[in-house]
């Protein structure tokens, strides 16, 4: 009795998931992320009581504040996730292909009757499943703790916003995951591909911002210069920063979790004139970050296609 084709794919996925869960690297990262969650929960709990007392407005989105409230000493949960998420993605993908090749298991698996793309697809799907489970668990953990502290359940809108936030985080991490899978195909040594991933991550989170600021200072020296009249330096800075996946992610998450944000980018007096300072509805917030989400998904797909094609063309030799 033989099963159909599809089952083989899930056999590989199952094995990959087992591999990840048994792996110390993954266990350590999960502990780090769990600890950050708990510590940011702690600051939130301490600070949220002040926040609630100071502005007793109806529909103040207390649950969303669980994710966005930070203190001077500790940043909020979303800032943590924006910082650690890439690291998680890189850690889960950097040795996906090259370590199998170095151990000689890739050629053995490939000489079994399975389509070649099953391997790379299964690696991606397995990591995606683990990330999804992890993020939904964390999200619901925060919700649950928040429920106990606040004392009443989240509104449907808050709940949906949180779900969208979790999905967005999964997309964000899978962008880094795919990038690191691609590096694991390009570089023969896992250490090299891990370093390449970390280098890109550092560049995006630190150096690029410095370079943009420097360039803007050089080309637009003062607010009153002739170029500044054509394009405002602040606006230029935002446009340049939006190339970064982490910038896209942080703009999108803050918009989703802070309904009071009405626009991304500079507002002119004409735009603000006459508008009421109401929070946006979920659909409006989503509309605002639609481009961000699309760009993140596009980035993810680009890296996946790159790794897919190079894996399919790769000549696999025994080590």
């Amino acid at each position: 009795m033989k099963n159909n084709h599809n089952n083989t794919f899930w056999v590989i996925v199952q094995k990959e998931i087992t591999d990840h869960i048994r792996n110390w690297r993954f266990i350590i990262l999960s502990i780090i992320i769990l600890l950050t969650t708990l510590s940011s929960m702690y600051t939130t709990i301490v600070n949220i009581s002040k926040a609630i007392k100071s502005q007793e407005i109806e529909g103040a989105f207390y649950f969303l504040r669980l994710f966005t409230t930070g203190s001077e000493s500790l940043p909020s949960f979303i800032v943590f996730l924006g910082f650690l998420g890439p690291l998680l993605g890189i850690a889960m993908g950097f040795d996906a292909i090259n370590s199998e090749q170095n151990r000689g298991t890739l050629i053995r698996v490939l000489s079994q009757p399975i389509p070649r793309d099953y391997i790379i697809n299964a690696k991606f799907v397995a990591a995606l499943i683990i990330i999804s489970i992890m993020f939904f668990t964390l999200g619901f953990l925060i919700l649950g703790i928040g429920f106990i502290i606040i004392g009443f359940p989240p509104t449907p809108e808050e709940f949906l916003r949180i779900i969208f936030f979790i999905i967005l985080s999964i997309i964000y991490v899978s962008f880094w995951l795919n990038m690191s899978i691609y590096f694991s195909l390009r570089f023969r040594q896992p250490a090299t591909s891990a370093l390449a991933g970390i280098a890109v991550w550092l560049f995006c989170s630190i150096f690029y911002i410095m370079i943009v600021d420097l360039l803007i200072k050089i080309f637009i020296p003062s607010e009153t210069s002739s170029i500044a009249r054509l394009i405002s330096p602040d606006y230029l800075r935002i446009i340049l920063l939006r190339i970064l996946p982490n910038e896209l992610y942080s703009e999108a998450t803050t918009t989703l979790l802070m309904p009071s944000i009405r626009s991304l980018g500079p507002l002119t007096y004409e735009k603000v004139y006459g508008s009421l300072p109401n929070p946006l509805s979920l659909s409006q917030s989503l509309l605002l970050v639609w481009a961000h989400i699309t760009a993140l998904i596009a980035g993810t797909i680009i890296f996946f296609v790159l790794s897919y094609t190079s894996f399919m063309k790769k000549e696999i030799r025994p080590r």
Binding site: R108, Q112, P113
Partner: protein, 315 residues
Amino acid sequence: MNIIELTNLTKKYGNFTAVDNVNLKIKKGEIFGLLGPNGAGKSTLILMMLGLTEPTYGSAIICGIDPIRNPIELKKKISYLPEDIGFYDDMTGLENLVYTARLNKYSEQEAQERALELLEKVGLKEAINKRVGTYSRGMRQRLGFADVLIKNPEVIILDEPTLGLDPTGIVEFLNLIVGLSKKLNITVLFSSHHLHQVQEVCDRVGIFVNGKLLAEGNIKDLAEKLLGKHSLIVEIGVKHKDGQEIKTEDIKKILSQFEIISIEKRNDYFSIECKEDITSEVAKSIIKSNIDLIHLDKKEYTLDEIYYRYFEKNN
């Protein structure tokens, strides 16, 4: 019917030709040894037969299937044991085999049964629940052989299967392969640069150098093909009844009626190179004359000799 048919198979990497116009036919149930020095292109040839590397031109048809057109169908029938087989070290031997079986579409339960059965067959019963990381080289190789058998293949390709095994390990492993191949009528192709082993187990041998298949056939054919003429050596040990020293001339005189190429003397032993097998005639003539025959040996070419002589001749 030929189960493996290679026609003008060629692989080029840029200007370098790794495999050059190879033609080869292997029958079902045959054990074929591919013999050649390191870097001769044996692995590339094997990878093309598996469809893991595309030939520049020419074709390989295995079990009637083109590996490029229908690799998945082919991989159901062909198994490959790479030179240094890799297992998931943090999984046990059993888990590794079950995984391979599952990839071959066995159900979980069937996979377990089949893996256990094969582990017993290759003599790894005690180590099934140990992590592969703790296995010795010989155990890994045997696990590899179980891994290769799990899909009930028609053809097995073994790349340097005896590399790094100790002498008894090699004998055991080769006996295992030959025994199972004959029993299950599996075609085996294995590559090696250990001439002695190849000679011992293979029905037919192909000599593969610099991407070219120089000659193939059994050992006798190879000697003829590579060294031109076929000659063999009869070695005799003699002793004069009176204790006198026997000279080469004496032997030459005794054997004058036969066609002899050369006679070489080493103490009381003579190596007689001749064109045909005249062992018994030599023995008779020696005994008839007044000399005692104390040693008689017919030396056929070993693969080693063929191999080294061939390279001597060409360098």
